[in-house]
């Protein structure tokens, strides 16, 4: 995602001579999305400096304060209010961005690598390998990924790496399908025949000749998967199956906010807005990028 923001920034910055004209051609929504993502990435990196409070420190004397409440004595303002044990919601949202982004990006990368390797192998080798791998994909696609992720979390217990692993296991088949389809037609193309006639080995053909040509559809699928992963992680944490109980994440904040929805609307509202803004920004950017590459969000 940081990379996407960077790409957008480069796209805007490129050609400094006619930068103004280029800027006008970029949609304002794309600029906003890029700015928000940059802010989010910065807040994830510098959470410790930006958050006014420790997001896990409870202060029972100042619990359930509405947004914009003054802190005690000369303490900073509670911009988004406090939760039922007095933890600062704004600090939680900032620290939550770190968890969400880390998990989403790591899970997309992991699922992307696993799915791509298996998909390339299925499409290139064919035969029994293809049959076995694709049956696995079929089984998994008929199996709701949220239930799969939940079971994996039950088996492994809460934890940052465990969520990433659960999401990788739940989400690799889509990459396998795309990579297989690409490998199927690319392996019949002339340049692959040429490479083979020059004595290239199977691994070399798969990773040096087919993979680079299959890269852009895979990259688009991966880019659209980042927001899905953010939502899925929030869902798991909402159920109490995600990050360990003492870690603050957007999903666990939503779960806490659900209990106090009637007395304190802000606890569930702000982390949800953060999720939505992050997902929206990525969608807007990826949409703009893939429109350039001639693909549509609706196909994915």
């Amino acid at each position: 995602m940081v990379k996407l923001a960077a790409i957008a920034a480069i796209a805007i910055a490129r050609g400094s001579g006619n930068a103004a004209r280029r800027l006008r051609r970029v949609k304002p929504s794309v600029v906003l999305g890029a700015l928000f993502l940059t802010a989010l990435a910065l807040s994830a990196i510098f959470a410790a400096w930006l958050a006014p409070y420790d997001p896990t420190a409870s202060d029972i004397m100042s619990n359930l304060l509405p947004p914009l409440s003054e802190g005690e004595a000369s303490a900073p303002m509670h911009v988004f209010g406090t939760d039922v044990v007095g933890r600062d919601v704004f600090s939680g949202v900032i620290y939550g961005s770190r968890i969400s982004l880390t998990i989403a990006i790591a899970a997309v990368v992991g699922a992307g690598i696993l799915g791509t390797v298996l998909g390339l192998a299925a499409g290139y080798i064919g035969g029994m390998v293809d049959e076995v791998i694709m049956r696995f994909v079929d089984v998994q696609l008929a199996f709701p990924f949220i239930v799969l992720a939940i079971m994996v979390m039950y088996i492994m217990g809460p934890g940052l790496w465990n969520i990433i692993l659960a999401l990788v296991i739940a989400k690799w088949p889509i990459y396998a399908r795309v990579a297989r389809a690409e490998a199927l037609w690319l392996s019949k193309s002339d340049f692959v025949t040429a490479a083979r006639s020059m004595g290239a080995g199977h691994l070399r053909i798969m990773f040096r000749h087919i993979l680079p040509n299959a890269f852009s559809p895979l990259a688009i699928v991966a880019a659209f998967a980042v927001p899905q992963m953010i939502i899925l992680e929030a869902a798991l944490s909402f159920l109490g199956l995600g990050v360990p109980a003492e870690t603050v994440s957007w999903g666990s904040m939503l779960a806490a906010g659900r209990v106090t929805l009637e007395q304190a609307w802000w606890i569930a509202t702000f982390p949800g807005l953060a999720i939505m803004a992050a997902v929206l920004s990525i969608n807007v950017l990826v949409d703009a990028l893939s429109a350039k590459l001639g693909a549509s969000i609706a196909d994915r």
Binding site: L141, A142, V147
Partner: protein, 307 residues
Amino acid sequence: MKLINFITRRAVSAAIVIVGVVTVIFVLSRLVGDPISLMIQPGMTQADIDGLRRYWELDKPVLEQFGIFMRSALTGNFGNSIWQNVPALGLVLQALPATLLLTTSALVFALIGALILGSISALYQRSVFDRAIGAFTLIGQSVPSFWLALMLILVFANQLRLFPTGGYGSVRHLVMPTLALGLFPLARLTRLVRAGLVEALAQDYIRTARSKGLTRGVILMRHCLPNIAISLVTVVDVDFGLLMVGAVITETIFAWPLIGRLMIQAIDRRDYPVMQAGAFVIAISVVLSSLLADLTYALVNPKVRYG
């Protein structure tokens, strides 16, 4: 004849998928944990515990358990729920009508809404409506449904008191879950309808139709929409599978007694039979709906032949 071949082939691969799903759930469910250890109460002797284990046939080797399970599953018997001691399949089937009701309701809402919004967007390209609908679809695809559910409860149930906060039974109970679950498919389908119509409207036969003096409405209904039906069917089918269980959290929030919630409870209680029966019913529904989608392709597009 070709259709029969096609259906046979699909039925075989469907059977493989279902056996696969059931096997995977068997393996995963044993890994989740031991249900008996959750039942132990103070004062129980080791003999009592062993008795419980024997009663549920959990004392046998895992492979033998798998054999017993597969044999009885073939006859549609998934055993009794360890937690409630009633047939597991019965529990799941009890939850099926409500699950199908909510899933269908959300999808119908999404489909009708998408046809209306997408058509407006495509007919008045680059207008204010088009832009507004475009922004709406982007936002709609970015809102997590469970958060939307919380916000709907906050505004329409807690503040305005228009709808009940949760529960299942009347049309009023159906409104908020339908909105919460239907928004994402609505947004995605709207984009699909718009994209398809924009493409269709630029075709030569549309110009012909227009030059014949047909009205916009007739052109849209008779010439454009049938052309995008195939991609709509595909996406609706995928969404059906997702909503069957993907709605777990939203169900929980609205306290609907659906299959997803039943599955989560079963996982939490290590209730193997219910997990297995649930996964079986879900896999069958998903497989059937994709078979239905394939048959619908032939219905909406005579060019599709199954060979």
